[in-house]
């Protein structure tokens, strides 16, 4: 399955990179039209694009809504920060 998607994505390769296109689509798209177009262009299913998109934190709608500020989430950084 993934071999097939890799090869389909490889037809356009780095020049017209699917991941980059997905990022652009995610930043604009409010409906499924662009995703459908993208899926057709790359000969993959819409679920492939949706599935991939949902994996990445920055592509999720709730992330995009926070258009402005991000505080660093420090999982494993034990610093009591230096207050200057």
């Amino acid at each position: 399955m993934s071999k097939n998607i890799s090869k389909l994505s490889g037809r356009k390769g780095l020049k017209d990179n699917l991941f980059k296109r997905m990022i652009n689509t995610a930043s604009k798209s409010k409906n499924g039209k662009e995703i459908k177009q993208l899926a057709e262009e790359y000969h993959v299913g819409m679920s492939t694009i949706h599935g991939a998109e949902s994996f990445y934190e920055f592509l999720r709608p709730e992330h995009k809504e926070k258009k402005h500020g991000y505080v660093m989430e420090v999982h494993v950084c034990a610093q009591e920060h230096k207050v200057k």
Binding site: G10, Y56, E62, H68, G69, H75, V76, C77, E80, V83
Partner: protein
């Protein structure tokens, strides 16, 4: 954790922007001064938060550069080599005139091993890929530096971009590839901008593109921007991501050198590995291999966080005593520190007394039950609660794992639950169950995210259980 100024940063941002407009991002690579935040595509840190009104109005603050110094016998990663495009052109034209085999032999004899964590010999990796009888091949620069405490790749991308790009071009030339891609994490906007600008500059000078310097070697470089997933640092997940798939880890073999990007032979190398190439080619294999030992040769960047008196990124000879790095270079700590976590969230948690006995050496760290990894150092203050630290480690792997394998996906959550309960005092830590869980994750996980997270937890259990003896249930 991070309650200090991180809370202050959040408070100030939410006062200005509204709480619902504030999100979280993982490490922004500003650990040398902290108080980091990201606003409208730019990163800020240090005292920048005090200028939030101006920043909102569009002012760009002069965020402090990373404090970077080379203490190496011979600087490979920071020196003047390749500091200008003229020097880049000179060295590249020399390499393009040389026999590829000779150049590959220099890389192999330098004993350069991958700096991304796994430490695979670079010459051997390039050789495997060059032997593949396939027309299309790729070079991927892994610039997804996600380890908390690490900013050495960011330093190289922003301050030494020519070195990194040179490494990629030479790799492409040797393995027979005409395209490469840098996968740069989205949390590093300045790195993306600088690399993009440098690529365009090289293109204009015919140092990239068609028939480079009048030879029949053509090479193009692209940038892919990461979208906030730590697992994309793992090479097969990174490849999946570039291809537009979910960034799930793939089973190896086949290794990327045989079946990589778009199922074509691919060399994936870390930023620092690639940045070492021009120095090695300019000064010769021996200049690198004679430092440190065979498997830990050359120089290495080490990142010291803001609990050191002199935070920053330092180029060190492999084999340098850690005591020297901590006290002479780092200047010691601004407050009492009980342990260091070296090598990111998957690296060991080493009590200060133990780390002082070690040298900067991959094998020495591994033999002592730790991991040097990418070389980032996060300090754990004396008063920091180790139950909370373990909780953070499990939370990290639960949130960042790709979910492909059971031990990783389920183990991380079960571990996090155990420590949720310990922190809430609803249950004691079932130590037998915890040990079994850690071994299952170590042995059964598909990759080193959930497979290596047990290491720092075991270190804490070994060295710091006294701190939470009363929170342990010895029977369960």
């Amino acid at each position: 954790m991070c309650a200090g100024t991180q809370g202050k940063v959040r408070k100030k941002l939410s006062e200005k922007l509204g709480e619902d407009k504030i999100g979280t991002m993982f490490c922004l690579g500003h650990c040398y001064e902290t108080s980091s935040f990201h606003y409208n595509g730019h990163n800020y840190s240090g005292n920048d938060i005090d200028q939030i009104d101006e920043i909102i109005k569009g002012k760009k603050t002069n965020t402090k550069n990373i404090n970077s110094v080379s203490h190496a016998t011979k600087s490979i990663l920071m020196g003047e080599n390749l500091s200008t495009v003229e020097k880049f052109k000179d060295l590249l034209s020399q390499i393009l005139k040389k026999d590829k085999k000779e150049t590959l032999q220099t890389i192999t004899e330098s004993n350069l091993c991958g700096r991304g964590g796994a430490g695979f010999p670079t010459g051997m990796k390039w050789n495997f890929c060059s032997q593949q009888k396939v027309k299309k091949k790729y070079v991927v620069c892994n610039a997804d530096e996600g380890d908390s405490g690490a900013f050495s790749d960011r330093y190289l991308l922003e301050d030494q971009p020519l070195k990194v790009l040179f490494g990629m071009i030479v790799c492409g030339y040797i393995i027979g590839s005409d395209e490469g891609v840098l996968y740069i994490r989205g949390e590093y906007p300045k790195s993306i901008e600088i690399i993009n600008r440098t690529i365009n500059e090289l293109k204009k000078l015919n140092l990239l593109g068609k028939d480079i310097l009048g030879t029949d070697f053509s090479y193009d470089l692209y940038i892919c921007i990461g979208q906030g997933a730590y697992i994309c640092g793992e090479e097969t997940a990174l490849i999946a991501s570039i291809e537009g798939r979910r960034a799930e880890v793939d089973v190896r073999p086949p290794y990327p050198t045989v079946e990589g990007l778009y199922k074509k032979p691919t060399v994936v190398n870390n930023v620092e590995t690639l940045a070492a190439i021009p120095g090695i080619l300019k000064h010769g294999a021996k200049s690198f291999s004679s430092i440190g030992n065979v498997k830990s040769a050359g120089t290495k960047l080490v990142c010291l966080d803001s609990l050191f008196k002199n935070p920053g990124v330092y180029e060190m000879d492999m084999g340098t005593p850690m005591k020297k790095i901590i006290y002479d270079i780092g200047g010691g700590f601004i407050k009492p520190v009980k342990a260091l976590q070296v090598g990111g969230p998957l690296g060991g948690v080493i009590p200060i007394k133990e780390v002082e006995k070690l040298n900067l050496d991959f094998q020495e760290f591994a033999k002592a039950g730790f991991m040097l990894g990418h070389g980032s150092i996060v300090s754990i203050p004396e008063d920091f609660n180790m139950i909370k630290y373990i909780h953070h480690l499990f939370k990290f792997s639960a949130e960042e794992s790709c979910g492909k394998c059971f031990p990783g996906r389920l183990g991380s959550y079960r571990g996090k639950e155990m420590f949720d309960q310990a922190i809430n005092k609803t249950n004691k830590i079932p130590i037998k169950l915890l040990n079994e869980l850690l071994i299952t994750m170590q042995k059964g996980s598909l990759c080193a995210l959930c497979g290596a997270i047990p290491l720092p937890i075991q270190n804490i259990l070994k060295y710091f259980t006294d701190e939470f003896k009363t929170d342990i249930n010895q029977e369960a």
